[in-house]
């Protein structure tokens, strides 16, 4: 099934013409409504009229996460707050969150894109779907929810945090689909197994995203639950889940190209690469009203394929992700930058600035341990001093990341002091 055959299967020529027309309109829109872009364009002597087709996109400046931070919170919004109906936020590289705003039209487009993904995953109006992404500032829960309602499915807004309730309802309601992170789904499959419920579920599809997963995890999920699992991709800066999704042929993720123009850039020269070459993915939001972004660098490494898929869709497909350009981690679906931990530790007096984050996956759930060294000036002969310090650090990290971490005080000089770029992360999960 294809949700929107007109858009998803249009010829490449038609798509290019549509993208061109939308880009021209977008550039004119941001030039007149977002001071940040007007100044950036003026600085390189570029006028909206200079952008005549999608090929001209290379003339436009890039946008980065730092630009969102520098214009925190609403500086890049193109409409007054009276037009914004929803705010979402994700992790920034330091203390401040990356904030995005949606107009009613943006929410409609978002639901449309997620509806395409749900349909790609074989979910329709007869399905009962449990949305087990977090509901809140994170785009996962509400984003998937909007699309699932749009296709007319019976939506069960589980959110996260109660696996027992989720498995009970999965059985009792006869849920046929679930949307959650792949690692959480593996965890759920273990809960089902341990409760002897595996043969009582009616699940047939899973729409998994918000974190990278391997082909091995994909197979494990499908075999263990006897379902089809699909990969959904998105990021809050561009929209949230639904920017791209894979179909039953799993030949890369179909991008909703009429709304988000993808480019894969050479990581050194930042020039667009040909199909099949690996580089940094960038998106231009062709139709967004609230916070339109031009050539937003996602820092995700991938390659692109414009050939027609066996499923009949003509939309460009991005490959499974091959890594990150920066040091961002995704832990339990939450974006985490080591710099956030560093900034949080500055608030704590009794430790040195050295730290190490150890990320692992235990029983399919991500774990984060943060190791710190005590400042020699605060050595103590009392256990409770060290224990209260541990609690304090865990608290500031929880506040900064929105994620609980196990804190371990280690002996002095045990954390690696590397020359040049410091290594602050040991990721044992091997996701790429």
């Amino acid at each position: 099934m294809i949700w929107n055959e007109t858009k998803e299967c249009m010829s490449r020529d038609q798509m290019t013409a549509l993208q061109s027309a939308r880009l021209v309109k977008l550039v004119d829109y941001v030039y007149h409504n977002v001071e940040f872009y007007r100044k950036k364009m003026q600085a390189i002597d570029l006028m909206p009229g200079d952008i005549k087709s999608i090929e001209d996109i290379v003339k436009l400046p890039f946008t980065t996460k730092d630009d969102l931070r520098d214009n925190y919170p609403f500086g890049l919004f193109a409409v007054p707050n009276s037009e914004i109906v929803r705010i979402h936020a994700s992790s920034g590289t330091t203390g401040k969150a990356t904030v995005v705003g949606y107009t009613r039209y943006d929410l409609d487009i978002w639901a449309e894109c997620v509806a395409r993904c749900m349909t790609m995953a074989g979910v329709g109006k007869d399905d009962i779907i449990q949305i087990a992404y977090g509901y809140g500032l994170f785009t996962g829960g509400l984003g998937a929810h909007g699309g699932a309602e749009k296709i007319g499915a019976t939506v069960v807004p589980m959110s996260t945090g109660n696996s027992k309730k989720l498995t009970t309802m999965m059985v009792d309601f006869g849920a046929t689909a679930i949307a959650c992170t792949p690692s959480y789904l593996l965890h759920i499959s273990e809960v089902l197994e341990s409760e002897g419920l595996l043969d009582q579920i009616k699940l047939k599809s899973a729409i998994c995203g918000a974190e990278p997963w391997t082909e091995k995890m994909h197979r494990e999920i499908e075999t263990k639950l006897n379902i089809k699992a699909f990969d959904i991709y998105g990021l809050s800066e561009i929209m949230g889940p639904g920017v791209a999704c894979d179909c039953e042929f799993h030949r890369g993720l179909h991008v909703c190209e009429d709304h988000f123009y993808p480019e894969v850039l050479d990581t050194k020269t930042l020039t667009p690469l040909a199909d099949g070459e690996t580089g940094e993915l960038a998106f231009t939001t062709l139709t967004k009203e609230g916070i339109p972004l031009i050539r937003y660098r996602t820092k995700d490494l991938t390659s692109i394929d414009h050939s027609t898929c066996e499923c009949g869709r003509t939309s460009a497909r991005i490959s499974r992700f091959k890594g990150r350009v920066d040091d961002m981690l995704i832990i339990r679906g939450v974006n985490v930058f080591p710099s956030q931990v560093e900034a949080a530790l500055v608030e704590v007096d009794m430790v040195t600035p050295h730290y190490m984050m150890i990320v692992d996956r235990v029983n399919n759930l991500d774990t984060l341990e943060v190791q710190v060294e005590m400042d020699p000036r605060y050595y103590t002969d009392e256990i409770r001093v060290i224990e209260s310090l541990t609690k304090k650090i865990a608290h500031v990290i929880q506040q900064a990341l929105g994620l609980s971490a196990k804190v371990k005080i280690v002996e002095p000089q045990t954390l690696v002091r590397s020359e040049g770029k410091a290594v602050h992360v040991i990721d044992k999960r091997k996701l790429y």
């Binding site: 020699p376 002969d381 009392e382 256990i383 060290i386 280690v410 002996e411 002095p412």
Partner: protein
Amino acid sequence: MFAKQLTVFIENRSGRLSEVLGVLKQNNVNILSLSLADTTEFGLLRLIVDNAALGKEKLTESGFSSLLSNVSIIQIPHKVGSLQELLKVIDDNGINIEYMYGLSIESEEAYVVLKASDIAKVDEILTDNGIKTISCDDLASL
């Protein structure tokens, strides 16, 4: 009178305690008493030694975090009930005990190492009550 206690922070890794003791042995630092407070992640090794300053210096050189702090080494009669009598004196003055460990050396006398919330006040109370405190040197020469 206060005595210097040497405290060493040790991660719960096999062989770590032995390494600390090895450093002390190499530098001829004699251990008179010790207590090991342990948690799941780390331990605090508290030592009364004959040369705490040297012990700290050498442990620091070997990369251990150590600390010198004041504690009271209190002499009590080596008989049933004497420790409780000591604690009653301290409790009656509203002072909390952070930790305590003991050693008995002679047939007549025993010694406890005690760290209280207010060690200066404890020292005063002990003196007022005619309870003897000794130094590490005193302990070493017993």
